[in-house]
Amino acid sequence: MEKLLKILTDLHPDVDFVNEKALIDDNIIDSFDFMTTIGEICNEFDIEMPADKLVPENFNTVEAMYALIQSLED
């Protein structure tokens, strides 16, 4: 979880990831940086992101992202 928070905070130093609960729906992460974010996550955790997991629900909160990463690591 800390590793994920570090990736996100590196990319968006101005965002409070712990408390934001609608990162996608509120346009906090938008299409301009979403791909960079996913790319970094895949790199750091050495996972592949299947297209069908790319849905807003999986990225609105840090917890959701972390759960997705864990499911992909297995």
Partner: protein, 515 residues
């Protein structure tokens, strides 16, 4: 001879009155409705006495916003599109340069306009789309529109599009009817657009990339579906959207196509109706092109290249052979009625049978825009006399792009001469980000780089700001697509022996430190 772009819509609204012209999936306008609404607003503009003036359209991206654009044109004026993506400071800069006669707003933007500092908009009228689109049409008022159009010539401005300016102030590229007609005639032929074409539009209305769908539409009776922006974050949803709306033609920035290819989307879902895929505005990796070609073996793939200053696209290459992953997809050859000159270091023109000699890509033709709005100096810097002609005036536009011919005689883009980049399809001057950031007192030194491989804007600075403050400060002044993807605060900036910021060294530091 066609001299005014509105004649396209006049003819198409007669031929296909009830066909959908533009839809965003929720709201839609037929060709007859589009013409009717633009006329209603145009009448109101004519009544107010404005002619040959800039009119700003500040609305949610929607079919109605396109109708508002055409209202400016039907009244003999020209338009500029503002967008909520633009921070207030940028909107103010644009309004300062443009001093528009009117800003047409909708409910979502009127409160933003009210925040604009009063000295910029004291001369500007603010209109609400919902009100002015109800203006009544009479035979008398239709005559006012006719008179305005008859009074115009094809060299009169049609729109102003603002692009990144290296000094920190955006530049307003001003294009006339003739250039757009020239472009659209050639583009519709190339893409084989007709009334069965359904475009899936990706480009925002404030860049000239949207000319493709908007103007080929009113010329041919094709339909354009404005794809909601958030679909471009979620590839499966995006392809579902294409299938749902039976979209058969797309002209997207390469990064959007790469996004779909990169996540192996085609293993889950494939586009069912797509037969024409045009891409451009930045390099498209062959690896991703191949994924698309495998998924759609019968589709046409066309690379388009062109700067805003030469109105839309200037050259094309239709993919007709296999490419190795380390090859570059050519930008091909010039559109009809456009000439591309590759001018070498010594000022002479490099012929297409001379391969692998680099030169600057220069463009001539009716496509050449009028220049930068209210900036003659910058205009004459880039729009210069054709070095091959010394006996009459003949302008070329120097793109600042370096290119070369390959062994097939096709033009290939190599790199920029300066610090301009293409990021997510947007044209950005890195020096504009630097200049904007340096305005903060807390900043002593700043340098902006671009990681070409990962497509990241990198910001290095020395100053009191924490990286979080730095990004916050930039967010207030720059559009989202110009914000750095990584921000690094340094104790000391590496300098060259003569005291300039050492960009090469910084790139080394980045490549070393970035895992």
């Amino acid at each position: 001879m066609l001299t005014n772009i509105t004649k396209y819509l006049d003819a198409t609204a007669k031929k296909y009155p009830d066909k959908i012209a533009f839809t965003d999936g929720v709201n839609k306008l037929t060709f007859a409705e589009l013409r009717n609404i633009s006329h209603r607003i145009a009448v109101k503009i004519c009544e107010s006495g404005f002619f040959m003036k800039p009119i700003a359209i500040f609305m949610e991206k929607s079919p109605n916003a396109i109708a508002a654009n055409f209202s400016a044109v039907y009244s003999g004026n020209y338009y500029i599109t503002l967008d909520r993506e633009m921070p207030l400071v940028r909107i103010e800069q644009i309004l300062q340069t443009l001093k528009p006669a009117i800003i047409i707003c909708d409910d979502s933007t009127v409160s933003v306009v009210e925040q604009v500092s009063t000295d910029t908009n004291s001369m500007t009228e603010i209109w609400l789309y919902d009100e002015v689109s109800q203006t009544e049409l009479t035979s008398e008022s239709e005559k006012a529109i006719e008179a305005a159009i008859n009074h115009s010539i094809d060299l009169d401005p049609l729109y102003v599009v603002f692009t990144s300016g290296s000094s920190g102030i955006p530049k307003g590229v001003t294009a006339c009817h003739r250039s757009v007609i020239d472009y659209i005639e050639n583009l519709s032929e190339l893409l084989k657009v007709d009334s069965t074409t359904v475009f899936g539009n990706q480009a925002p209305l404030y860049v000239d990339a949207c000319l493709k769908e908007v103007y080929t539409g009113i010329k041919t009776g094709s339909t354009a579906v404005l794809i909601p922006k958030e679909k471009f974050m979620f590839p499966v949803k995006l392809i579902e959207f294409l299938n749902e709306h039976k979209i058969n033609t797309i002209c997207w920035v390469s990064s959007a196509l790469s996004m779909v290819a990169g996540f192996k989307t085609f293993e889950c879902i494939k586009p069912k109706h797509l037969h024409t895929v045009a891409f451009g505005s930045e390099l498209f990796p062959v690896k991703n092109l191949n994924i698309w070609r495998d998924a759609l073996p019968n589709a046409r793939f066309i690379n388009l290249y062109g700067p805003t200053e030469a109105t839309g696209m200037s050259s094309f290459y239709e993919v007709n052979r296999k490419f190795a992953e380390d090859e570059r997809i050519p930008i091909g050859k010039a559109f009809k009625n456009t000439e591309i000159l590759l001018i070498g270091k010594d000022g002479t023109v490099i012929e297409s049978n001379v391969s692998e000699v680099a030169g600057e890509i220069c463009i001539r033709g009716s496509c050449l825009s009028l220049g930068y709005y209210n900036d003659f100096e910058k205009t004459t810097d880039s729009f210069v006399q054709n070095p091959q002609i010394s006996v009459y005036p003949d302008l070329i536009y120097k793109t600042g792009d370096l290119g070369e011919y390959n062994s097939y005689g096709e033009l290939v883009y190599i790199a920029r001469k300066d610090y301009q980049i293409k990021h997510m399809g947007y044209r950005i001057e890195l020096t504009e980000i630097e200049a904007t950031f340096a305005q903060s007192d807390e900043i002593t030194l700043v340098c902006c780089l671009y990681d070409n491989i990962k497509g990241k804007i990198l910001l290095y600075y020395v100053g009191e700001f924490t990286p979080a403050d730095a990004v916050k400060a930039l967010k207030q002044k720059l559009p989202r697509y110009m914000l750095p993807n990584k921000t690094f605060r340094l104790e000391q900036m590496p300098l060259t022996p003569n005291g300039k910021i050492d960009r090469t060294k910084l790139m080394e530091i980045y490549n070393h430190g970035d895992s």
